[in-house]
């Protein structure tokens, strides 16, 4: 805890030394877009998440990977869930990718000089914003659903 805090403070100090003319108040803070909407809250208090989000996700990672625990309850810290809430289209309707400073997880990390490799494997956007070619199997499935629905209609 203290170590992490120290590291963050060191980074801040470093930044202040880089811009000696500017006070803390002038250091450009990354712009973080938070999910909006009635009653939408993070999985923990904002303060706690800011400081300790990595512990929660890494713990969840091992639980899922090693023990097969996939509870989708409010108390789970699935990376997929973070992404679903936190990565949304911007004003122009574009969904930021992990190459972009606009991406929720990137904005802050770049500022604090943290590098994570998670998005080499994990999708950086919610699935609904990812376009995929329809596989023949998926098309067949859809056709079957349509036909099944039609059968039901005929039977009535």
């Amino acid at each position: 805890m203290t170590k992490r805090f120290l590291r963050i403070s060191l980074i801040f100090t470093g930044l202040i030394m880089l811009f000696p003319a500017q006070g803390i108040a002038d250091t450009p803070f990354p712009s973080i877009h938070e999910p909006e909407g009635e009653g939408v809250k993070c999985v923990k208090d904002e303060d706690e998440m800011r400081r300790n989000h990595m512990n929660y996700i890494l713990h969840q990672r091992d639980k899922t990977m090693r023990e097969g625990v996939r509870a989708e309850s409010d108390s789970s810290y699935s990376l997929a869930k973070c992404i679903n809430c936190h990565v949304q289209p911007n004003d122009k309707g574009e969904v930021p990718t992990h190459d972009s400073k606009e991406h929720f997880c990137v904005a802050c990390h770049q500022y604090a000089s943290v590098q994570i490799d998670c998005f080499e494997c994990h999708a950086d956007r919610p699935q609904k914003y990812i376009k995929r070619d329809q596989s023949p199997r998926a098309l067949k499935q859809q056709l079957k659903e349509v036909l099944d629905a039609k059968d039901m209609g005929d039977a009535q």
Binding site: V69, A71, E120, C121, Q127
Partner: protein, 245 residues
Amino acid sequence: MSDQINDSRRSFLSKAAIAGSITIAPGVFLHQTAHAKPDDQAVSNDTRWGMLIDTDKCAKGCTGCVDACNNEHGLTGFGRPETDTQYIRKVSLVEKQTGHEISLPLMCQHCENPPCVDVCPTGASFKREDGIVLVDKHICIGCRYCMMACPYKARSFVHENIEDQTLSAPRGKGTVESCTMCTHRVDKDGIPACVEACTEDDHNAMLFGDLNDPDSEISKELKKHGGKQIRADLQLNTGVRYQGL
């Protein structure tokens, strides 16, 4: 360890398989349900997941299971069949003397004593309590020892940058991967995508279930008609068994 399929049972099974090919009555594969744990509980060795494949029912030329798997995990090729990822592939065997051709799907055999786990220097290659053998890519360093150790050539190495992954298979360059027996489905009471596709296509050549539960469809079927391991001589006690070999 409470695995019920043990050494003595195994040697019995291989003898039974040598005794001759067994014809399966139609309709043996009825409804397939997996019974799983509550999803906030860790997997335990009360369960050992396994698969039984009836090669007599596996249709030649059909790639339903492979397509379903690729679709489920977002496995797209780069036009390099030698290195493109495969979790499951179709293999045909032709008996030289009679010309009899057998077609079967081959994937990670989810061994009880997996050689890939033995050789892994980081502990990334591991066996879950419920018998499913996985790569924990978070600690995989991409050395590929496991690929060399696997007698079934079941593992692939990711050679390219990957984008737009599915939720079911986070995957990226520099790590090894293989069939996960669809843990993301099985942990939620589902069955693997390949088994689902084979059943949907009315081939019913694949059965999934708990080998430790004597009342499961797969255990009953194995008890009645047996099921052979590929390379039983290696004594790996595979979780995937075959009939009609």
